[in-house]
């Protein structure tokens, strides 16, 4: 094994340091330990078998953890130190918009008045929550240039499904729900998957030479069978679909609609509004553009924004502001696609997103997009030539390189990604979009300082040199993490998906 590399001239951003080991929580269990003391019950305790048929009761849960509060705190604190995090450094996952999560947002979302409010509180007793949702809807309408918003979808993918279901319901109301959804081959996997769940056939359209929608090909593909085009814009190459107006036209002229995946809106705040280009419906990822934390995989929030002709089809309930300034829910939405999740969406995320918008204001949001685009272009300009840039279109918020120049040394994108860990960075998104072979998709976001960007660029350059001078070093990376490269094949071949006690 290559000896782990300490911080050195090459590796400037990081070094190595002691890191605590820790087994799974079950391995810390010891009969009789407790992590919580309950208050006394206040009322006479009822024996379970006095209420339930003994057959419907469970025995003590075998092997369930028994640990003290100290054990729990140590366990999860130690685990936490094994993670990379935004507050530790740049997290350049393309398409993920890993921006700074403001602490003030975490603070306000935890106000008791929000955190303890029950979704079935009478409207009069939760006007604050209604107001927040209403304001956020107004803000998102303005940012997108759309006419109506539903905050219900729990994440981007659910926003997509909701939007496509709305398109279906709309077209159905026009007499024909149609059969197909067109999706560029550069799209995120959730797009085809959402379209399929909405009952549509998916037809992939090949990207043109420049990585964008090929207008001629699109024109051919759009028939009366096509319900809609799902378009990511800027697309997953970080490139603005400059033909958007024409694209919209093509669809509309055949009675089809345009759905926009707004996951990449971080490039466009205050710059251009999809609604103004004729997009019919779109979703936003509040956990990308609007800074709500990713939480190690979720929760997010994927509001849907639509033009007025689609408004009747939004999920119920909608929020209305009455003449007297009071807010209420409107459940009587006969054309609605229905409910896509219980209650009102991931409300806690909505609070955070509104806090983000109010803190930034219109100028701040615009500057945010400008800086995000500036950062991506700066990286691009510094790494171009060192890494292959498969599409030379102007970049917005992210830039996609490939491993082509490194392949000749037997090094792949995955190796480069792992080696970046030794340099103290989280890797970029890899092997996506699928239209780029060996893609390295880099989205710095606006949260990176020039210093951090320069460190990243230096690391990428240094790795490119290593690929030539010592390819094995890169291929065997990471060396400085607490575990080496993990065997994903074995995990899938012989799935161990839960802990079980060792057989004695």
């Amino acid at each position: 094994m290559t000896p782990p590399l300490m911080s050195n001239e090459k590796i400037r951003k990081a070094t190595t340091h002691v890191s605590q080991n820790e087994g799974v929580i079950f391995e810390k269990s010891m009969p009789g330990k407790r992590g919580v003391a309950l208050p006394p019950c206040e009322v006479p305790e009822v024996a379970p078998d006095a209420v339930f048929d003994p057959g419907s009761l469970r025995k003590a849960i075998e092997d369930f953890p028994e640990v003290s509060e100290v054990d729990v705190v140590r366990h999860f604190t130690r685990l936490s130190t094994w993670n990379y995090a935004i507050d530790l450094g740049m997290y350049p996952l393309g398409s993920c918009t890993m921006k700074y999560n403001p602490k003030i947002n975490e603070y306000v979302a935890r106000y008791e008045g929000f955190a303890q409010s029950h979704p079935y509180l009478p409207e009069e007793l939760c006007q604050g929550n209604l107001k927040i949702q209403y304001m956020l809807e107004e803000c998102l309408k303005e940012v997108t240039g759309m006419d109506a918003v539903s905050l219900q979808p729990a994440a981007g993918a659910q926003g997509e499904l909701t939007g496509i279901l709305m398109i279906r319901a709309y077209l159905h109301s026009q007499g024909n729900a149609r059969k197909k959804i067109l999706i560029p081959d550069s799209a995120h996997g959730t797009n085809p998957s959402s379209a399929a769940i909405a009952g549509y056939q998916v037809e992939n359209i090949k990207s043109g030479e420049r990585g964008c929608v090929d207008i001629a090909a699109l024109r051919n593909a759009v028939t009366e069978d096509v319900a809609a085009l799902m378009l990511t814009n800027p697309n997953t190459l970080g490139v603005y679909e400059s033909d958007l107006l024409a694209i919209v036209d093509i669809l509309h002229s055949k009675g089809g609609l345009v759905y926009m995946d707004g996951a990449n809106m971080n490039a466009l705040l205050g710059v251009t509004r999809p609604g103004d280009s004729g997009v019919d419906v779109m979703h936003l990822n509040l956990h990308k553009t609007f800074s709500t934390p990713h939480g190690g995989g979720g929760p997010g929030a994927g509001p849907v924004a639509a033009k007025s002709h689609l408004e009747p089809f939004l999920p119920y309930p909608l929020i209305i502001k009455e003449g007297d300034g009071k807010y209420s829910y409107d459940f009587k939405r006969p054309q609605s696609v229905g409910r896509v999740r219980s209650f009102y969406g991931n409300f806690g995320m909505l609070v955070r997103a509104l806090a983000y918008i109010l803190t930034n204001g219109p100028d701040g949001l615009k500057k945010t997009s400008e800086d995000a685009v500036l950062n991506a272009n700066y990286i691009r300009s510094q790494l171009k030539g060192i890494y292959d840039l498969p599409f030379d279109q102007p970049s917005l918020h992210e830039v996609v390189f490939s491993d082509k120049l490194q392949n000749k040394y037997g090094v792949t994108t995955m190796d480069i990604a792992k080696r970046l860990m030794d340099y103290g960075f989280h890797p970029p998104t890899v092997y996506f979009p699928l239209i780029v072979h060996g893609a390295l998709m880099i989205e710095p976001t606006e949260s990176e300082s020039l210093g951090e960007l320069d460190l990243f660029i230096q690391a990428m350059k240094s790795i490119a040199e290593e690929c030539a001078s010592d390819p094995d070093l890169v291929k065997k990376a990471p060396h400085n993490t607490r575990v080496g490269r993990l065997d994903e094949v074995m995990a899938a071949r012989n799935p161990v998906l839960r802990w079980k006690p060792k057989k004695p």
Binding site: V24, R34, G35, V36, V43, P44, E45, S56, L57, R58, A60, V67, V73, F76, T77, W82, N83, Y84, Y91, Y100, V108, Y111, F114, S117, Y120, P122, C126, A157, G189, T190, S194, A196, G199, Y240, R273, S291, G298, P299, R341, S342, F343, Y344, G348, L358, G364, K366, L374, N375, Y378, K418, H426, S449, L450, R482, V483, G484, L486, P495, L497, R498
Partner: protein, 451 residues
């Protein structure tokens, strides 16, 4: 602009290295026609004190610190502060999905533990890394049942949470799927006769909730037997997952070794997650090993590194949208990972004994309340079958006093069932947990008694 770590001079420098002069040029390739030519019409930026003030005032417009008897899918339980302390570590909350395992072992191991705990709670072999909420978990497990059985239709108990049923409809009504409801019997449980009548070989799954929307525990063994006889799966949804600390896990076989639930799908909010107006909460799906490849959502699996050290990775991704695209088992991508972490911490703290004790406190307090209501002549207690922490009452004359009267005492009454069950006009679904003070129960009952 305090979130933007750059000075104007630095911006200028960066632009210059690219031969540009102004940031606007970065957008010059966008068609002029679609550029926004004005500022966004949004409120002007707020300072931090002003922001705090704003949200404080919003929060104050909600009833705060009141005692509520609302349950119906979201439950007020006590959460040790340790949970929030730990999830507030930036390494947990600001991390992305653990696609790169070598720098994400903390999240991965925690999810692995979550999966393990959910298996223990539900009596199943395998549980996924989370779903959006109970409603979508149930819905996606229904789609899963379609894939498993190759059948299309569902029988859903009317005692399943009405909003869960609404979501199921949203996800299926455009497909060739029939969703029929099963009536409930007088004791609040599923009407077995109705089930027998409606079961057929078109039915992919029978879907019930236990404890059900009225708080009653369903006769799962009987339901399973009937469903399985016709080749249908039994999906058990659990909205009050704390009940799993006391009740027989639906995934466990009967004493006779017969399978009961084939999929358990539910809402984990009760297990350490603040109610937060209904979201973010925690959907979960657990099932048997043989169905794992039909499962939606992420899964973490154990493996080893190049040096043979134990580690964890996302696995079986060929089920998922980023690999399988339109053929994926689900479109879910971002899930509710941080809520799963809360649940993992909560369950670790409560532990084997604590979880059982909290469950028993819920039963005890709810039954204390039921007992008290039974002494009130003007109130009827409906649905006499075993209950966990919810029950239905029907005041003979609810007009005797208004909600406002309760509010004066900072009490919020139960959930009015007429919204979803017009037949049950005037009936209210009451929830009493370990957190409901006895004094508030007494006060509420007195108000129902004396108007």
């Amino acid at each position: 602009m305090r979130y933007l770590p750059k000075s104007d001079a630095e911006r200028q420098h960066m632009l210059q290295t690219m031969g540009l002069e102004a940031a606007d040029q970065l957008f010059s390739h966008l068609p002029a026609a679609i550029r926004l030519k004005r500022s966004l019409n949004l409120p002007a930026a707020l300072s931090e004190p002003a922001l705090l003030e704003f949200f404080k005032s919003c929060a104050a417009e909600n009833a705060t610190g009141w005692v509520s008897f609302l349950g119906a899918g979201m439950y007020h339980h006590f959460i040790p502060v340790v949970v929030d302390h730990l999830i507030s570590r930036t390494e947990f909350y600001s991390a992305y999905t653990p696609y790169q395992p070598e720098v994400s072992q903390g999240t991965l191991q925690a999810i692995f533990e979550f999966q393990s705990l959910m298996c223990q709670l539900t009596g199943m072999d395998v549980a996924n890394a989370s779903m959006y909420d109970g409603a979508t978990a149930m819905t996606e497990s229904a789609l899963m049942a379609q894939r498993i059985t190759g059948r299309n239709d569902f029988l859903v108990a009317e005692t399943v949470h009405p909003e869960y049923r609404q979501v199921l409809l949203t996800y299926t009504k455009h497909l060739n799927t029939k969703v029929r409801t099963l009536a409930f019997a007088e004791n609040g449980q599923v009407d077995l006769d109705d089930l027998k009548k409606k079961l057929s070989d078109k039915i992919a799954a029978v879907i019930v909730q236990s404890p059900n929307f009225f708080g009653n525990v369903e006769p799962l063994n009987e339901l399973a037997q009937l469903a399985h006889e016709k080749g249908a799966l039994l999906i058990v949804t659990v909205a009050e997952s704390l009940s799993l600390g006391l009740l027989r896990p639906p995934g466990q076989t009967t004493e006779e070794g017969q399978p009961v639930a084939d999929i358990v799908a539910g809402e984990g909010q009760s297990l350490g997650i603040p109610i937060s107006y209904g979201g973010p909460v925690l959907g979960f799906i657990a099932t048997r090993d043989k169905y794992v490849r039909q499962m939606p959502g992420r899964l973490v699996g154990q493996t080893v590194d190049t040096g043979g050290r134990r580690g964890y990775v996302l696995t079986l991704a060929t089920r998922e949208q980023h690999i399988r695209r339109e053929k994926a088992t689900s479109n879910i991508c971002t899930n509710q990972a941080l809520c799963a972490l809360m649940c993992t911490i909560y369950l670790s703290l409560l532990g084997k004994q604590g979880l059982r004790e909290v469950a028993i406190q819920n039963v005890s307090k709810a039954h204390y309340a039921i007992g008290r209501f039974k002494t009130v002549e003007t109130v009827e207690v409906l649905f006499e079958s075993p209950r966990f922490n919810e029950f239905v009452i029907r005041p003979k004359d609810r007009r005797k006093f208004s909600d406002r009267k309760l509010w004066k005492h900072q009490l919020v009454g139960g959930f009015s069932l007429k919204r979803f069950y017009p037949r049950l006009k005037n009936a209210e679904l009451m929830c009493v947990t370990e957190k409901t003070p006895k004094a508030s129960i007494d006060a509420l009952v007195d108000l129902y008694q004396n108007g």
